[in-house]
Amino acid sequence: MTRDVAGIGLGLRYDLATELLERQPKSVAWLEIHPENYIDRGGRYQEMLELAREDWPVVTHGLSTCLGSAEPFDASYLKGLGTFLRDLEIPWHSEHLCLGGVDDRFFHDLLPLPFTEESAQMSSQRLIEVRDAIGVPLALENASYYAPQGPDGLAEADFVVEVLQKADAKLLLDVNNIYVNGRNFDFDPKAYIDKIPMERVVQIHVAGHFVRDDGLRIDTHGEPVPDDVYELLDYTLRKTGPVPVLLERDNNVPPLDDLLSEVDELWKIYRNATGIVDAG
């Protein structure tokens, strides 16, 4: 049995868990976790997840099942991941469209894939392989990147669409990543959104990012959501309809009330853009 995920959610993170789990704010409709932080781990993380599941539906977002890597998957990891995910009764799991490791070594960061036919072919095959192994629906997430990977910035949208079609996959659409890439590679984020087949979008991410002195934007999830990203979310939700939206905040975590103000802002945009009045 999966639990219904709708409206605005928040990433469950160690730094904000104590206050979040104590106060159980009603405006937070669901939570997202990174399975790598919980698999085979006891202590506070186990407790956080158990308490979270008492009050909220949970969705999972993977960090290390690299869709872009050339090496075969670790079958025992995928088996364990599948067991962990099925126990959580999640409606879908998501992973990044990126390269996370080489030769059984992990970067612990999301490195970019070139926007080529070869990458699209490999990533889509791997997506299917993971989806089959874990036994739950799998969405891919568009990533942020900092070094050019194609003829222009919008080529990324074509690349993402190609992988989605080849694998017949769902999409976790990260509007902050699109905005960051748009500013770093000089394209209109709305033109990117316009290329996405909206019927594939099952979830949306929003976050803030860091602007370096030289203007390069880094996807830190460590700043408040900027107005431009809120606006891009509004534009996106008007096309997708009421797709669940997650606020990602991983670093530089502020007091919970600051995050809840952002959640309220997201609800306002969500309701305005989708016409939903009673959720949350």
């Binding site: 006891g42 202590g43 960090l63 490791g101 080489v102 070594r105 992990f106 970067f107 070094a147």
Partner: protein, 245 residues
Amino acid sequence: MLADRAKAMQRVCFGAEPSEADLELLGSRERWLVYRDLVRNRLNTVIGVALARTKSAIGEDAFGRAVDEWFDTGSPKTRYLRYVPSELSEFAIPIWQLTETPWVADLAGYEISAWEVRHGPRNPESVGEFAFDKKPVLAAAVKVLRLAYPVHERPTPKKGYEPKPTILCLYRDGNHKAVPQILNPLAADLLEAWRTTDQTVAESVQTVAAAHNTDIGPTFIEKLSTLITHFIQEGILLGGHSPPS
């Protein structure tokens, strides 16, 4: 093509010095150096948190050199960020044993053990009652450490630690923190026997007491029962399993 790029990314991120040939293959030299910083900073952060006292004892430069050398020759095999400090320690502690003042390797071993206990696995879900005729079940995150220096004593003395053989049990308490407890040699051997052998409590007590030339008399039994009660109260000892008949 993709595989060549991936290997170049790995060398650029983890190599001692990124090569111009790799940077040219990947394109956008400056942006790939951004990736190098991002990757290394994240790993350095978690390593610095796990080994904070070791880092301050050795100094940032020497500590950073060991981490850089590990990046260059190894880099993370684990997908779990929480295990990254353990992999670094496996590489760096033997180096620090040779290059640093003698207690530093003990301190690093103590810190990484505490980190592993704090972030260690879940306890088994169904455990029976403790009994002397059952095989004991320990918590998943319990370690016994045999140290030459009492590096668990804080703060680190300005002149460093004087030698003092110390046996510690590290376990996760009710607040999920790693807590050290001093053990005598017999208690430490018992705890290790409970983790590694298939003997019942009664059998392991006999084996360990014999190895220590200790009679199992009333005083011994009283001390043993105090120890077992304490282990159960602290969540170090969870209960027992009946041995297969």
